[in-house]
Symmetry: C2
Subunit: 421 residues, 2 copies
């Protein structure tokens, strides 16, 4: 019997072309798994009906996603499934005008929608109902809670996520899956509910790193990404922004382990001291988030303010009280930091190795955990990938993230391949 | 009798507070003017019903737009008016889920929607039905065709526009009104149909430059913008990107006149030689536009492709054939040019003086004219204002634009005030 959790996207394509699988096989296996686990995990806002099967037309070999089940975060518009934007139903649209462009692109490549995965309210901090597959008393992280949990639980091999603060990398770390946030603006966000457009980045979760390479190639129409077995000459900078916080011992262990593994593969490991101006990026990210969110959700607040959670209202109040000058200063500081980071990376490091989260998924469902270690990277727009390389004695995953300069997404995924063959 | 075309936003607020006007007076005068001129000009996609009047609550003095009639470009969502995105009806939504955030913000400030102004198809090049108020056989420019024409004809004192290529500055020049494009990202674009998010900039048209200062203050919650009567010590760089094109004699005359006027007010006029790398920005803008538009309108093309105009389909085809590498190269070149422009401006010039369009509005309605002189500035995200300072012997307006570095919007409007008291 096929172990679908071990299946890769490329493996399924090969099996399909050899006639070993029918196009709906994986989708149906996912549906069974969802039926079994959903009562506990609550990763889905709604499920799609069994799709009609049409082989994609004009898709290049290596870019087909024919028959691949995909979870779609519920802040992404779908014309044939309802969208709630994580609002616990107070803002629900039974049928959007059009699919988000990423949904159209996935359909063009032959992927099959599995349903809408649970998001926190407008992709901010108010926790959702979803539970962590490794311990249902813990948060899966947020805001892409359902996507991370569904992929981790084997309910679906791929799910779309978005990151505005730390909403891909943190839940990927807590759920023990690969999470990839491309360079800001790589994938179009038409039809994705905006929280803070300068920060909002569309990405995804997969069980296998190989699948993230496959997706990158398919969704961007790029050449195949080279895999590496050795890292000789690759310069790795250990890094933590803000430097003023200390991660938990489990995160420190995960980082140490990843660094040793990279060194054993031939990489040169150094320490990236980015300095105090990078610590300030955390505050700048908060300013840009609050300022833009207040404007992006102005109409939602007008209509649904009485039903919004207190964390969201606090963010929107914060943004209302910020001046344009403060917002512009944060943007200018970001631009300076981008230039400085590019210089430092060009001179000293190919990738940075950094914590994905302060520790393993915290207990309880009252918080989605702390996105502190993603704020600066999201602000800078750099590509980040969470690698689930460490597990605590309790069986909880603790990820690390690799980070590259903007536009180095393929190089980043190539270097990561040595760590997760 | 009040000459409403001479009325300023601040003047109306003063009159209101003194009881000289009733809140609906201006709105009703606009409706009469629209009734008289709309059969010829065709600036409106639909008109709003007479609004209920509620004085805005909690708006600071100087930021109120109470009773100000505003035209809303028809690519901007309105919950109570239909939206067609300029598609000649093939993509019409009778009621959007929510107002665009700018519409909510205008309502909060007390402004009154006058209706939706005609846009070209998805704010690209396919001409609309609107005619130039100064000569109905000529184009008003595009894509904000209806907004520019409506303000020029006195149908409304303010109309929202967007610029992705040259859609505010060019129609403002052709119609003889003030057009203002703020620094990219200054106003939130939630609910504004995306064409190319890196470029899409929300701005406006007014008859009076003072009204653009009032709007900037109201919509950004900023302090008042200082007016100038002299320009002593202000450094002005005459500039034309691309340098490879020659504007018409009428545009050259407009530029010369503006430069002389600034010099007479004490400004130091020099020539900004930005070099060949800036000429290349025109090509980079085309790449980013095509790449992003293809992704932004993927679902629209899927659904309405058979009904789309050939210019739009050509753009979407162009974008489909671009690689991610080409797109990223264009973005990186843009980032380098931004740094270089900031350096040059800091060292040498406070503002640049440049053509708004190659000449006066061209004859006929088969084209909206050439946006060539806006492509680089839109790409760079800098604030631009069109000033209607010159008129041809035929009575056609020819604007010039003043341009400042990003985040210098208030300084730009301040310097412009000396030219249009």
């Amino acid at each position: 019997m096929t172990d679908w959790t071990q299946m890769t996207l490329a493996g399924f394509q090969r099996g399909l072309s050899r006639g070993e699988f029918a196009p709906l096989d994986w989708w149906r296996a996912c549906r069974e798994r969802i039926d079994a686990l959903e009562p506990t995990l609550q990763a889905w806002e709604c499920q799609a009906p069994e799709p009609a099967i049409t082989a994609p037309d004009g898709v290049k070999p290596g870019q087909s996603l024919f028959g691949i089940p995909v979870g779609i975060k519920d802040i992404i518009d779908t014309a044939r499934l309802p969208t709630t934007w994580g609002t616990r139903g107070y803002h629900r649209v039974a049928q959007s005008d059009l699919d988000a462009s990423i949904v159209t692109e996935l359909a063009r490549l032959g992927a099959l929608p599995m349903g809408k995965t649970v998001s926190t309210e407008y992709a901010y901090f108010q926790p959702s109902k979803t539970r962590n597959p490794h311990d249902p008393t813990r948060t899966p992280g947020g805001s892409s809670s359902g996507s991370a949990a569904a992929v981790a639980a084997g309910m679906v091999p791929v799910a779309l996520g978005t990151q505005t603060v730390g909403s891909i990398i943190r839940p990927a770390s807590y759920c023990g899956v690969v999470g990839f946030k491309p360079t800001h603006g790589t994938l179009g966000v038409a039809g994705v509910k905006a929280l803070a457009p300068s920060l909002d980045t569309l990405g995804w979760f997969t069980r296998h790193l190989e699948d993230s390479r496959t997706l990158f190639r398919a969704l961007t129409g790029s050449p195949p990404i080279r895999t590496l077995t050795r890292l000789d000459g690759v310069r790795v900078g250990l890094c933590q922004v803000p430097s003023t916080h200390s991660p938990s011992p489990e995160t420190a262990t995960a980082l140490k382990g990843a660094g040793e593994k990279m060194a054993a593969l031939g990489a040169d490991i150094g320490t990236a001291e980015l300095g105090a101006s990078f610590d300030e990026l955390v505050a700048h990210q908060r300013v840009i988030l609050a300022y833009e969110a207040t404007r992006a959700l102005a109409s939602e607040r007008e209509r649904f303010g009485a039903l919004m959670s207190s964390p969201l209202l606090a963010l929107l109040d914060e943004g209302q009280n910020l001046t344009l000058a403060t917002y512009w200063q944060a943007r200018q500081a970001t631009e300076r930091a981008r230039i400085e980071l590019s210089q430092q990376l060009a001179e000293r490091f190919d990738v940075l190795l950094a914590p994905s989260a302060p520790g393993a998924a915290p207990e309880g469902l009252a918080s989605t955990g702390d996105p502190i270690y993603s704020r600066a990277w999201t602000l800078l727009g750099v590509p980040c990938v969470n690698l689930p390389l460490h597990w605590t004695p309790l069986g909880l995953p603790v990820g690390v993230q690799l980070i590259a300069d903007r536009y180095q997404d393929q190089r980043l995924l190539s270097i990561a391949s040595a760590l997760m063959p």
